[in-house]
């Protein structure tokens, strides 16, 4: 079992970050880890979380900030007072990166306090993820020194430790999404050293799976009978995976289950089949 305690899922919008992060949480939970799913950006879809039996931590900027101020100034009352001041409310509104940094800090604090805890972070899409990770560096420069800067440096020690934090960059097999994933990886490699790429919604994998299940009666699919858009996609994918030397278990099949919850289960099954034991590292 690998020892990372913070697993971060990012990638272009619409590539399936949320379903992938949820499936991975279920996977770790099934391995008896004390794991929680955190959605950084959106409000949680409670009925989905309920149905999946997904352990979650709900964090929000105001309570995270209050928690931080309380710890620093040793007073709940002052923390409440500060966060209720219209000035601070307005400040958080116009400087979104301040909130991002505080949330990230709160997440790391939780991990520091409970050594058994493992977190799966459903992070914002590429550009906004970079903003989130850039925020602490900005405020490190802005605040110059003092206890906030000490805390930021502590955050970075955890975040950039490849035994502690792992990044999954999700991509679909389309040109825009792939190029965005590559750029994102390049930017993130400046700071993070444990990054994996995952390819989602693969038609190729979908067809391969059909062929596998028909193996006994040796009737392989007749590819030329597929509609042209499908043939184009499949050819494109096989060329691409070959040229990028993608590891087979990092390619996830397209799921045609109708319900979101069922699609999460399909991804979960893939993790279970292909990500167990040592190959996860």
């Amino acid at each position: 079992m690998s020892g990372e305690r913070l697993h971060i899922f990012t990638g272009k919008g619409g590539v399936g970050k949320t379903s992938m992060a949820m499936a991975y949480t279920l996977f770790l939970k099934q391995k008896n880890q004390n794991v929680f799913y955190i959605n950084f950006n959106e409000e949680n879809n409670l009925s989905v979380i309920d149905e999946l039996g997904l352990p979650t931590l709900a964090l929000n900027i105001v309570s995270s900030a209050e928690n931080y101020i309380e710890r620093k100034l040793h007073s709940k009352i002052i923390a409440k007072f500060v966060m209720q001041a219209p000035f601070f409310k307005a400040l958080f509104n116009i400087v979104p990166s301040l909130g991002s940094m505080i949330m990230l800090g709160h997440i790391l604090k939780q991990l520091e306090e409970d050594p058994s805890m493992v977190l799966v972070l459903d992070a914002p899409a590429s550009g906004h993820s970079l903003s989130m990770f850039e925020s602490s560096h900005q405020f490190q420069t802005i605040f110059r020194k003092g206890i906030i800067v000490d805390d930021i440096e502590n955050m970075h020690r955890y975040l950039y430790d490849s035994n502690f934090c792992k990044i999954f960059i999700i991509s679909t097999v389309s040109r825009l999404s792939l190029e965005e994933a590559q750029e994102l990886k390049q930017e993130m490699q400046n700071r993070f050293h444990n990054i994996d790429s995952i390819y989602n919604f693969s038609y190729l994998k979908f067809i391969e799976k059909i062929n596998e299940s028909h193996r006994e009666n040796s009737t392989k699919l007749n590819i030329p009978n597929l509609p042209s858009f499908l043939r184009e996609k499949i050819n494109f994918e096989s060329e691409l995976f070959y040229s990028l030397k993608v590891q087979d278990h990092h390619i996830f099949s397209l799921s045609i289950s109708n319900r979101f919850v069922d699609r999460v289960h399909d991804l979960f099954q893939h993790f279970q089949l292909h990500f167990n034991a040592s190959d996860e590292i």
Binding site: E134, I148, L176, F236
Partner: protein, 350 residues
Amino acid sequence: MISAKKVSLFCGTGGVGKTTLSAGYALSLTQKNLKVLLITIDPSKRLKQLLNLHEVNGVMSQVDTTFLNSQNQGELWAMCMESQTTLQKMAERTGKVSQFQNSILKNLTSKYSGLNEILSLIELNEKLKSEQFDCIILDTPPGKHFIDFLESAHKIHQFFDNSFIEIFDYLNQNATVSPSKLFFKKIVQSGLTKLLSYLEKVTAPEFVTEFIEAIAILYQSKNEFLAALVLGEKLKDAEFSNWFLVSSVEQDKIEEMLQLKEKATPFMHSDQYFLLNKCLAGKIEDWNPLEPELIALKASILKKEDEIEKFSKANFLNTIKIDEVVAIDFKLNEKKHEDLKVIAEQFLRL
């Protein structure tokens, strides 16, 4: 028929094709001999690769549209929004460039700082004032960041209004004085003393001085933020703007789309277009697979598309379906614009 308006906004959840469709729509307008500017606010800046832009961020550049092979007289210009450049130009307009060197402002507007949404209404307003373009098209960031963009002017106005009214009264009377410790003294007299003293406890003392200076500097451009508020109001005028809400059949984000629409309604007019992107039904109607898995695949694609179309017809006045364009080979550069061309043609046929 979609009539060209002064401003068009493309919005929606992530990965549905906002950037591609906004570029395709912009190209279709150049075919009507219009001079068009396309601005992207999203920090991931897909526009650059889509149109082969080489300019640095924050600068407009003309797009080579010869791949359209048409005789039209239209022009397409494009730029990626960058908050630092917007701020720099604001500084030039106040005539006090040196003050904008404040380190907090510089940091907060650096790459990936997250201030793009807040400053882009100002950028849009400037571009409108320049009267260089017939149409300006805005490719907005996904989901909640789109709401941030819509609320930006209001948020900044609120910040000035509630927090610093006393200080700014003082600043207005002493407009020639450069921001310095003098302002700090004034703040000390106001109710903010306590808050700032807490801040001083946990940061370097220079931070608080610089922080106040940063706000004082921004306040000098208060009128630009007020103008952005007025522009926000104008976007509600159906004569002035087109709102395109983009969704895609490959994602079932109906819930998210409804939430987005609900949150954005106060900022829009009701004459919106719902663009349903990446439609496949037309391409697989004649396909008759024999394998049960492929029969299920076909059924699932058709069902999804049907559901989302019903949803959009129930919730939006105008629904437009855009067919999926499979980029044939991304290694061949000359084919790179093939997808945009096809999308532009789809818009022209409407």
